[in-house]
Amino acid sequence: MRTNIFVKDRVAVVGAGLTLFRRRLQETPRELAWEAAKQALESAGLTFDDIDCIVTGTAPDAFDGLHFNGEYIADAGGFGKPTVRVYVGGGTGVFVPVAAWWHAASGLCDTVLAVAEEKMSPAHPHPQGVFAYIWDPILERPLGPNLIWIFAMEMRRYMYKCGATKETIAKVSVKNKRNALDHPAAQAAANITVEDVLNSELLVWPVNRLDISPVSDGAAAVILARENEARRITDSPVWVEGIGFTLDNTHWYNRELAFPRYVNYAARMAYKMAGIERPWKEIDVAEPYDPFDYKELHHIEGLMLARPCEAPKLLEEGWFDRSGELPTSPSGGLLGVGNPIAAAGLMKVAEIFWQLRYEAGPRQVKKPVHYGVAQAWGDLMQAGTVIVLGN
């Protein structure tokens, strides 16, 4: 990687907002985007007139059932302003603030509204059918795959390579759903046990129903501002210290599945920019992407918050609990809060923002926090997106 990481302009997150995350919401995609944007603006004491540029994000149009969905939701704030939609599959949620960052860091815009929306409920009776179109039409679709297969295959490889058991991995689901009990937007918050996960419907061994995050509707938004503007807006800006994003090839079955190289490269880029040399010591709170429970452990290792194959052991020791050494998914993550794809990634960024401002209320982690990282992943085990925030 050769990227210019010596960007002079500092950019801060100054506000964040969320809608409810639910299996079905009555609001249209643009109403959801508008609600989240309004929340974020109000939390920063701003109005739409104060915003220079807009970055929107939403995952495949096929969920909403509308093409140009990014433009469709953009009139919730982008009317008459420079607006762009970014898209890297599930990685979109973290890519939206990354793109917002370069709009501001380049000096192009002083204030940027980053909004991500997902409405999966229109695809009925279940959006699983829509996921069929992510597979290669020549070599994969003729085998009749289900989206969950690819995760099961990666999880099986991870379990084999790292000696992790289903019982240990289920503890991620237990932890995140419990954390989500304190989250006002949460859809799948619950006090469950490892047995509940193991006894839930078996879909594709080793994946049971409760190893997976739910199908959701929802939206999230954050406001980014250049340093001078950020200091005018708030006394406690949360700085974007580093960003990273990389893409691997589409041939997921030509690569070692036990370690996410695509996340690791993006993390290295972000840490280098942030001047972080030992992330496992310097990062205080993390929101790794957790659409499946093993994915959180997998991504913790990709983010170098644990050595390869070390995350299951640390999880058992309570290392990643809210009261632990390195709390992960204190929000409740996708497993607990819900997974409106693009909005879920941005919800994670919003959580790090609230954690670093000590505004997370009952979700606030025990330890003092200086640096936090949020990450998402997308496409066929391909796209890694990372953002490092600091207070």
Binding site: R22, R24, L25, R156, L203, W205, T234, E256
Partner: protein, 186 residues
């Protein structure tokens, strides 16, 4: 612009949105159902067309990068790492080891299957890669002769396998010309 108000933010405590139960959604005013009517014909392209022709003849073909020596299966027209044109075709023995294997109880649309199917990633024997390295030539396919116990115990991973071909008259130049990958006896 005003400064930030007190914490936590009032709006945040009650996130907006109106939840619908399943029945409520199906009884909404103005609900429109629309099944998309679109059909696609996908061309397999330069590299994969030849690969599919090879399958019809019972051969697994790959392309070799002239610069780094990686042999690609499935074949690419260009090397992803070197951005060179991969013109040289190589026939592989088709043998390999299981990289990962799972047991699916559901189909594409989440319907329960009558019989579970075992699928996985097969790491093929191909030159140009570091043994035990991150990248390898391989295919995603069904596995037969592998039991659910083999998958769950981890015995399946690392098992040596070879393709089980459909009879020549049934082959159509399709990934399904390989019925599955099965363990090599002995």
């Amino acid at each position: 612009m005003s400064s930030r108000s007190g914490r936590p933010q009032p709006g945040w405590v009650n996130p907006p949105g109106h939840y619908l139960k399943r029945d409520e959604m199906y009884s909404l005013v103005g609900l429109v159902e629309y099944p998309p009517r679109a059909k696609y014909l996908f061309s397999a392209g330069q590299a994969q067309s030849r690969f599919l022709m090879g399958l019809k003849e019972g051969k697994i073909l790959g392309t070799r990068c002239p610069r780094c020596g990686r042999v690609y299966v499935p074949p690419r027209m260009y090397c992803e790492y070197c951005h060179t044109h991969t013109l040289e075709w190589v026939e592989l023995p088709g043998t390999g080891v299981i990289h990962t294997a799972v047991i699916s109880y559901i189909g594409t649309f989440r319907e329960r299957r009558k019989e579970p199917v075992i699928v996985g990633v097969i790491q093929l024997d191909a030159p140009g890669y570091t043994p035990g390295g991150y990248e390898f030539a391989g295919l995603f396919h069904r596995l037969c002769g592998v039991t659910p116990e083999d998958v769950m115990s981890g015995r399946a991973i690392g098992m040596r396998v070879k393709p089980r071909w459909r009879p020549p008259e049934e082959r159509r130049g399709d990934i399904n010309d390989i019925e599955c990958f099965e363990p090599i006896e002995g």
